[in-house]
């Protein structure tokens, strides 16, 4: 596979996952707002904080008005991580490598982009209840995954997209968990209160993990939720699960069937994955949840750089020509 194409497929996977996660974040926050006591309504700042774009937001906007936050996260093209930015770039990547995608995958990605355009034209962020829009976008992205799942051959291209998707998802799960760190409780004594409970529940719902969590752990307990979202071996949105899948993808790509590592990217992900594999939730809390998650995010960024230098970096054809002469 061409290095340039592999790069585009990897980022197609990342951008789609990013957009889908944003749609989830917003949907869940909306639900949460409805359950909060009157004086605590409208907490939109934690959402921005979780995306890591708080500074950028404050550069353009003063307060955390709902409509403004929704616009920033969904349509603001000055926000490189907004859903519109991510979907535009996903579509641009898809357009560049259209010859490598199935016709349906391209058409659905193109439609996704047209849906965003339509949403922008209709000023969805001003609607009293914009949730149907986010639901639609989320479903369209899931449709693209579904089509890919049942129509794409499990060769290199597939693994590069999956790799992008799982690296992105690991990052996003770590960030959604971090929201809890940013959400304000009225006072310290509220830890463990019904309000606290509501927060954790919303968090689980945003990753479609509420029912699964219930079945495994029963009652809501912060330690268990952290364990579930960071270390669980079977839940497809836990950080460990994502890292494990991403590692499998890397091994498929390089043909490494013997374990260990064949290149720096495999080494980095192997180390991070085993760190989580042998971690206990108590250690994470002792270390500090926010710090622990921050650390994971930094390592994921480094991993993405290593994937880039291992597979996507192109030689300048002028230079190689000169060396030959």
């Amino acid at each position: 596979m061409l290095s340039r194409v592999a790069n585009n497929i990897y980022w197609l996977g990342r951008y789609l996952e990013r957009a889908e996660n944003y749609a989830r974040f917003i949907d869940v926050n909306f639900n949460l707002m409805q359950d909060l006591p009157m004086d605590l309504k409208e907490q939109w700042q934690p959402l921005i904080a979780a995306t890591g774009d708080l500074q950028l937001y404050q550069h353009s906007y003063k307060d955390f008005d709902k409509n403004q936050v929704l616009f920033f996260l969904t349509f603001d093209q000055n926000n490189p991580n907004s859903m519109f930015s991510a979907i535009s770039r996903a579509r641009e990547n898809a357009r560049i490598i259209r010859e490598n995608l199935s016709k349906e995958t391209w058409e659905k990605s193109n439609q996704l982009y047209l849906m965003m355009q339509e949403g922008e034209a209709k000023k969805v962020w001003k609607k009293a209840d914009p949730r149907p829009f986010y639901e639609k976008i989320k479903n369209q992205i899931l449709l693209i995954y579904g089509i890919a799942d049942s129509s794409v051959a499990r060769v290199e291209g597939w693994y590069f997209r999956q790799l992008g998707q799982f690296v992105e998802r690991a990052d996003k799960t770590s960030r959604i968990l971090d929201v809890k760190y940013h959400i304000l409780l009225p006072s310290g004594s509220d830890v463990g209160s019904p309000l606290d409970f509501l927060h954790w529940m919303a968090l689980l719902k945003s990753v479609t993990g509420f029912n699964t969590y219930r079945r495994i752990y029963g009652n809501i307990n912060p330690l268990n939720v952290v364990e579930f979202l960071v270390l669980n071996k079977y839940f497809p949105r836990s950080i460990y699960f994502c890292l494990n899948e991403a590692e499998v993808c890397l091994h498929h790509i390089s043909g490494n069937l013997g374990g260990g590592f064949k290149n720096p990217a495999e080494k980095a992900i192997g180390e991070l994955r085993s760190q989580l594999e042998f971690a206990e939730v108590g250690e994470i809390i002792d270390y500090g949840l926010h710090e622990y998650l921050d650390n994971i995010q930094i390592k994921l960024n480094k991993l993405s750089d290593l994937i880039d230098s291992t597979y996507f970096r192109l030689q300048d054809n002028f230079i190689s020509q000169n060396q030959n002469q």
Binding site: L2, S3, R98, E99, N317, N324
Partner: protein, 475 residues
Amino acid sequence: MKIEGYQSGEHYDEMLNPQGEIRTPYAEFFRNLKKVPTAKMNHLQFSANQTQRAMGMTFNVYHDNEGLEKILHLDIIPRIIANPEWEKLDKGLKQRTYALNLFLQDIYNDQKILKDGIVPEELILGSKDFLKPCIGLTPPKGIWCHITGTDLIKNKDGEYYVLEDNLRCPSGVSYMLESREIIKRAFPVLFNKIGVRPVSDYPAKLLQMLQFLSDKPKPVVGVLTPGIYNSAYYEHSYLALQMGIELVTGIDLLVKDKKVYMQTTKGLQQIDVLYRRIDDVFIDPLTFRPDSMLGIPGIFEAYKAGNIALANAPGTGVADDKAVYAYVPKIIKYYLDEDPILNNVPTYLCREKKDLDYVLENIEELVVKETNAAGGYGMLIGPKASKEEHAKFRELIKANPTNYIAQPTLSLSTVPTLTDEGLQGRHVDLRPYILYGDGIEVIPGALTRVALRKGSLVVNSSQGGGSKDTWILYS
């Protein structure tokens, strides 16, 4: 759909004869069209537009350096051609392609046709499209123009005339293929009843032709595109997808020891054949334009060494120059000793004193074209232009006569088209596609471009043109 108001007008109409009777190829279509309510037709047209949008069938237009994706309007009423008429086109296009290929091989090698004085030497050797690095070269299998998209029109006399031989990188074939898919969905039953020859195997034939150019048992073939900002990018990716081959850009390739390699995730992989959609002079900055950012340094040396086949071969542009066009009938006669099957439009070469005088005198009745311009730019349509424009072009021609040719104003035939005022005749041209590999094959279909503005003769997509599906019938 109301057809009573439809008139054939003063031009050749493809559906009605001058007496207002339906011509045979349209008989079945017409019978069915009458039964479809206008609202239904409009809805079919609307669905076709939506489908194009969803498919992302776009071309890029440039304005203020900003690329804009646009849709080429597809009118759902097909242009229909009966088989006997097509047979003649088929023969004529094969003859023309064969002769032009011999011409290219000759002028880059023995130059017999120039020595014999059939085509003026300075017209060829002085052309900017005559590529000196190609002198003495024979491309793989001796084929220069692998893919040709000849532009024809039908005049008032009911005869086809060749307007241009596009031997460089003719585009539009993806529209022929995708439009067919859309129109099949619009008229599923009718389509079967009428008996239309298929075009869907074009990508397979194209791939076969490209593979034929290499002697390896399993050659690696790619489509070379200038990139996403090129106006025909949609087509490049579409063809690569349909053929199941890589779509590469200049930066994906590099040359080592006169061999061309792709940069893949598994290292370098040699590539044997390139269907290149980059202009000749951009293909190799070491041989041609040093400022080209699109090309691959050293690829021309690899080509000369026979390690890569390029389709079309570099250097073909010299043969589709608008001035060389005037000599094509003589070229056919010279190499094949046959009379040309297809008509050429009488062409006045302003480089010749006698012709120049005639053109300056009669500019009001002539179409004046720049010899090296494309896309309908640098063109004057005498009868439609103002006195000032006539005067302006007289000056332009006098200042640089070799740069201009003129032709009598031809009438372009009309085909019924859906407009806001109901069914109306609009002018069309015809671009069939010819593949030259192990033999020459004319694809039984074409891109029909239609001038959507009433009375307009300019069919170019960049200037208000649309397209139609072209049905070549079995009978």
